[in-house]
Point group: C2
């Protein structure tokens, strides 16, 4: 910690602490010659301003908080890069908080942040977030921008992608590739994005008159081993799907592994689409058909929205949803023949 204080500078220069403070803050009230004397001594004694004291004075931390469930998912790591690019450009610090998909963490972090550590928050809620009191409470004091996983109940800016359309498009693609028994792998009943993707899935199933018992929703968890067993069991059942739509990236490994271990050919016996931003999608065998989200772009827009608000010094954001479309990228897991990639 810095050992030189404003008080010491004041004593040595025989000035008041207020004068020192104003001189260091380049105030118009202080003469240039005094400023020079103060700065020279501050430099000589290696005085370091206390960031907290500065924040108290200006009532601004020039810092935004970002709450994401995890960074092991490519979507969130890319979105963070987008947020940081904008924040950096505008001279803001970014504090990244991981909720690890726990509602209790999300509540604790928001509660701690109300105190003044940040000027506003950009967040994507956890899979457990099925009540919103803590976000409402936070939003009474500081602005919130949602991205990806939003709370429809809270009136503020939301940056999303076209989850409903993508759920529909991905399912339609599987149907047109010949699938009749399509399973949607879900990870949550409450998350906005999953619920939208599921609605799109159901719409396609209904439109193409597929059997609703064959086309079902299977709930996965946060535990990879459990998901692997679940998928393996599903692939050994009498009602084995011929198409899988995975709503999150991390299920890819378990789907491929289960099929590999059961000698089930992708795409010959089951076609697979995942919501994923993983660069490795193109080097899997077969290469993976994905719904790829504009993660970096969504992060940029979220940060731009929040910083614009902070600049204008208003607390409330309009209840406005910005939708940036995702892309269906068709690869061999839904169309290709056996063995048409590496080898």
């Amino acid at each position: 910690m810095s050992s030189v204080t404003i008080k010491q500078l004041a004593e040595q220069l025989q000035l008041s602490t207020a004068t020192i403070s104003k001189a260091l803050g380049d105030s118009y009230e202080i003469s240039e010659s005094t400023k020079k004397r103060v700065l020279a001594l501050a430099k000589e004694l290696n005085y370091i301003p206390n960031a907290y004291a500065g924040s108290l004075r200006h009532n601004k931390s020039k810092t935004i908080g970002v709450l994401v469930p995890e960074v092991t998912d490519s979507f969130f790591s890319l979105a963070l890069n987008g947020i940081e690019e904008v924040a950096l450009e505008k001279g803001y610090h970014t504090l990244i908080y991981l909720t690890h998909e726990k509602l209790s963490r999300e509540e604790a972090i928001l509660k701690a942040l109300v105190g003044g550590r940040v000027d506003g928050v950009i967040m994507s809620v956890t899979v457990e977030t099925d009540s919103f009191g803590h976000i409402h409470e936070f939003n009474r004091h500081l602005p919130v921008v949602f991205f990806d996983r939003v709370c429809p109940e809270i009136d503020t800016a939301k940056i999303t992608t076209d989850d409903f359309e993508c759920g529909y498009k991905a399912t339609q693609h599987l149907i047109e590739a010949g699938c009749h028994k399509i399973v949607l792998l879900s990870i949550s009943n409450s998350l906005s994005i999953i619920s939208e993707r599921t609605k799109g899935f159901k719409k396609a199933i209904a439109e193409y008159n597929l059997n609703e018992d064959d086309c079902r929703i299977v709930n996965c968890t946060e535990d990879p081993q459990h998901n692997y067993e679940l998928i393996k069991e599903m692939m050994q059942s009498d009602n084995r799907p011929d198409g899988i739509l995975a709503t999150v990236e991390k299920l890819t490994t378990e789907i491929y592994l289960a099929c590999q271990h059961l000698n089930i050919n992708i795409p010959g016996q089951v076609k697979v689409v995942c919501f994923s931003n993983q660069p490795s999608a193109i080097i899997l065998t077969p290469s993976l058909t994905t719904i790829t989200q504009p993660a970096f772009e969504m992060g940029k827009v979220a940060a731009t929205t929040l910083l614009k608000l902070l600049k204008n010094n208003t607390l409330r954001l309009k209840d406005e949803c910005t939708v940036i479309p995702s892309k269906l990228i068709i690869r061999n897991s839904t169309t290709g023949q056996v063995n048409d990639t590496i080898i």
Copy 2:
């Protein structure tokens, strides 16, 4: 922002602001009955403590800063989870800062953090960090723990893995699998980890008397497209390698893609080992032989080391290196036959 202040609480209860402050801080100097009155009113008026003011008072932020180059690399995202697990348990906030591999970012972040925002820092330096003045300066004021990418010049705690041994082991494995022309793909000349891995590589090459012109080091960059072209060119050259050791995870995609596009069989024509913590390593075709680092564990040890120091209220950490070994996980990219996985 909170509209109720300590002053208002004091006025309404006819107590001094110092008493209110101490009561809110659960000080032994204040009677239980007064504490109850203060807390009841604070709750009624929805008083929210100012985090910065609290920090000024205690001269502690109960916060640690973590500087990592990026989170799109599995190693760093897993290490962050390890750091957070320990910090959470000990009641500390974690502020994550991304340097995006830029020395200028690293300098700016450390400079900003000296002011009191954090009590100490855990960091892994950027690929550009070839001078250490800014870290020395920071370390004069606040403690630093390095993990993975360390600065040998700075006397403090360092948590690393056995990079030298792993460089050696991976190269030895390639040689014993029949490779004679092994290329090490590097991303930096200054990073401690890369330099250790390179030394291990060179030791194995010398021990097995391989030709040093055939076994060379190729420098990649931060640009995936450039790396892809570079690898493609290398694989089309007269002196085409029969073994590749990639020192960072993200080169995997470009290696597999270049080989795929050139119809070069892995492992038949070239064997591949990567330093990687990617879960997808097991579902690639062929599955990827990796040096897998104890990322989560390294994060945990780094956080434990820093928090122990903070608890003891000392500034200096002993110049001590904790080495947690990595694992060579042999898969089909160095041993298997064509087509022995999926299908």
